[in-house]
């Protein structure tokens, strides 16, 4: 079983966003970087499938040199190898261009299973996985929260309003994963140490012209006015009064 998992480097913004002066990007000064929780789960799923069925898992990112950090994290957890598609300007690659490059890079590699996040953490485009599947003419199920491999078939579950849709497709196939499919492991210290030595394959592909062009980022207004009800348990009478006012009791 050859498994691919695609991850995207994004800032871990925590308490709030700061934008750059031109309003085009999130100011990442002093921020850590991460991947989307959906992708963390895709990485975990790739590792579990290889642990169960044998083979190997490859992590891929299209991004800057610094994005090797995200690939090494995946390796530290148990992914076997990694590929970086060189793109210092990856934030200006639209989803079609990203998918085009990923498809071109992975086509000769012959994966049985290709895993993506359901949507990236920052731009939430909901499409790179499906576009790659289309370019490789592979079946794809999006937003799955369960996956099982049986011989050359995959059974995947997708949560809908009043239950679960169960899909069964022949491999090779593409799946986009949602958080909740598993609970990702933390890397071991040994994993972190040995991941530092694994060589990362670098590839440069051409960027097709963008169909989507960002003009600006902006913050939605939050508009809540804080009223402090008190300190510790002495606030309880005021909480009860508010609960009554809001019809909660």
């Amino acid at each position: 079983m050859k498994v691919l998992v695609c991850v995207k480097r994004v800032p871990d913004t925590g308490g709030g966003f700061k934008l750059t002066a031109d309003g085009m990007r999130v100011d990442t000064t002093n921020l850590d970087f991460a991947i989307s929780p959906h992708e963390e789960c895709a990485v975990e799923e790739a590792i579990r499938i290889v642990e169960k069925h044998g083979g190997n898992a490859t992590a891929l990112t299209l991004g800057p040199v610094a994005a090797q950090e995200q690939l090494r994290e995946a390796i530290a957890k148990g992914v076997n190898s990694a590929v970086r598609l060189e793109a210092e300007d990856y934030e200006s690659w639209d989803p079609a261009a990203t998918a085009q490059a990923i498809a071109e890079a992975v086509k000769p590699m012959g994966f049985d299973l290709l895993l993506f996040g359901n949507e990236s953490a920052d731009t939430c485009n909901y499409q790179v996985g499906l576009r790659v599947a289309h370019l490789l003419d592979l079946p794809c199920v999006t937003g799955i929260k369960a996956l099982e491999i049986q011989d050359s078939r995959a059974i995947a579950k997708r949560e809908v309003k009043d239950g679960w849709e169960v899909y069964e497709v022949a491999l090779p196939a593409v799946f986009t994963v949602k958080e909740g499919i598993n609970n990702p492991r933390h890397p071991s210290l040994r994993g972190i140490m040995s991941a530092k030595k694994v060589p990362i394959e670098q590839k440069k592909l051409t960027k097709q012209p963008a169909q989507l062009a960002r003009k600006a980022l902006k913050k939605p207004h939050e508009g809540r006015q804080l009223e402090i009800l008190g300190q510790g348990p002495e606030a309880v009478p005021k909480i009860v009064a508010k609960l009554r006012e809001l019809g909660a009791i």
């Binding site: 913004t13 909901y126 599947a133 062009a213 960002r214 003009k215 600006a216 809540r224 402090i228 510790g232």
Partner: protein, 324 residues
Amino acid sequence: MILAILEAQNKALPEASLETATAARDVAQKTNDTLGVLLIGKDVRALAPTLKGIQIVLVAEDQQFNGYVPEAFAKIAAEAIMKKSPKIVLAPGTDWGNDVLARVAARLNLGFASNCTEFFIEHGALKRVTRSNWGGSLLEDLELLSNPQLLTLQPHAVPAKPCEGAAPTIEDLSVPLHDKDFRVRVKAMIPSEKKGISLTDAKVVIGGGRGLGSAEAFTMLEELASLLNNAAVGATRVATNNNWRPHSDQIGQTGAQIAPDLYIACGISGAIQHMVGCKSAKKILAINKDAEAPIFQRADYGVVGDLHQVVPALIAELKQVKGA
């Protein structure tokens, strides 16, 4: 033409589809175009006459469609686009709508902007959209350079208005399908187990974060919920990652989006990826021991204190009030 591709569920149009029809009608008015709707599914024809005020309803009904058949639906949608040459194609920004439009975009090699919240039209053309980034905690102004322009509408961005006006012209759309178009299809449906009030239906949601400290501490929140009207318990990603709660309880960007009358956040710092899941709550009450926690900038009411003291005291008080 402006074409809206609407999802039907159990022979009805869900809220997100009605919102999409409303937004499409508004866009068509501004661009001075006819408005078309495409319905795809097993029993969708009966819905067509209810779409008053829409000029043309294209119906692709097929008894072979047992549930969602992604590749067949995308093929039909692409065919409808080739046939009608719409300027703009709009679908709901739900799992269904984003899946259909991404497949259409891939097939026709077009750009696709998902989860739009606003449309800027000038001289009869769509110049720009605003769309959600980071699950809605940041917004992006974007230009779509390809034609037709493919978009989905962020749920709740536009309130649905009732369909009023003249009855639509109904056209059957028949697209030849092959085995390959059915290679991805639903093999079985498993109904979800009903257990109490769901997070999205609850009027009061009590959320627990790292400050809870353990799975056991959540029983305290369950008890509090049992003393309130229509209340359910949710959690942060820290709580679900620690296995204190199942992932289905997670509120936030990669969890549930809730809109209760009141959200009570206990031991939660207020990270944007969590808060974007509860930003539609009418009121937010935060209980946190750190007066500097970001949650206090995103709440209506604040209690600074140790939740392990505040919550039990609140429970005791409510029991007394209720007993009286």
